[in-house]
């Protein structure tokens, strides 16, 4: 019984991008839906022993991947833009 999930957070320019490998089933739906194509397979294995995903700095923090993941394995926390 897992009540707490351990995320891998990537500190990207526009946001904190977190994948929870214990939830990621490696379906690839997020990779297809990312508008800037910045998600790719990683070396960290997911729930079924298939690769989980990672993102890079091209991420625009739109949150589409978080929305589209059927397993809620992704979470995007947008960084606050600095006030000028």
């Amino acid at each position: 019984m897992t009540l707490e999930f351990v995320g891998r957070t990537m500190d990207l320019e526009k946001g904190y991008w977190t994948v929870f490998p214990d939830l990621c089933k490696g379906c690839g739906l997020c990779i297809e839906k990312c508008p800037v194509d910045c998600i790719d397979w990683s070396d960290v294995l997911g729930a079924y022993g298939t690769p989980s995903v990672k993102a890079d700095n091209r991420c625009i923090a739109c949150g589409i991947c978080q929305n589209i993941c059927p397993d809620c394995a992704l979470r995007l926390d947008k960084k606050k833009t600095k006030e000028h």
């Binding site: 009540l3 939830l23 089933k25 379906c27 739906l29 059927p70 394995a73």
Partner: protein, 255 residues
Amino acid sequence: MQLQPAMPRSWRVDTKPHKFCPGCGHGLILKCLGQAVDELGIEDRVVYGCDIGCSLLSWDFFNLDTVQTHHGRTTPVMTGIKRARPELICIAYMGDGGGYSIGVQHLVSSVHRNEKITVVLANNTQYAMTGGQMAPTTLPGQKTETTPYGRDPEVTGFPFQGPEMVSAIAREGAYVARGSISNMRQLTGYLKKALVNQIEGNGFSFVEALSACPTNWRTNASETWSFIDKEMHGHFKTGEFKTPGSGQGEVRADE
């Protein structure tokens, strides 16, 4: 505690990852349904019923009172609960096999009686749990276990149009819509309206959701999206078919 996954509040965290296959549309439909329940703040009043087929894998999906039954009978079971306890909000969740084929009589009769429940039906164009056989919703030419050369409409008919059928026989007060997992905001909106329609006691509420089954379709992620967006959307129109207050629909005499 570390940063935790952004799941709908009504999801049960301790049963995740859920039992559906990688890339399965059920996870997305139930995410939309969970969000709709959260936004309406009705967790303590909802009874969730799931059917047989892959939809039954959601028996421990939600932090909601849950019943599981078979072959489209989720609709009459929810009807019974609603009649006994009208203050509860009853959701019957099923696939196209249970709702449109084996158990279609239950759907038809409940619509006919205008039962004040909400039926949510996932359409993935085949029987998934038994290995991908042809269902009423299979597209013309689509290959399944039982149509290895593609479905021939001359022999087995065209894809079953569920919301169209339901709206044709539904009474005033019914809500009927078809959404898709490729437009989750719209789908969540439809589910929310379907629940509100039940809460307001207007009548039967029905939402079909176009879903995905990468396992039996044998599709990778990009083929899955293109099958939904190009093939399924070509045969199944999304939108609202009937909303309360829109009348019975006019039957016009020949001019």
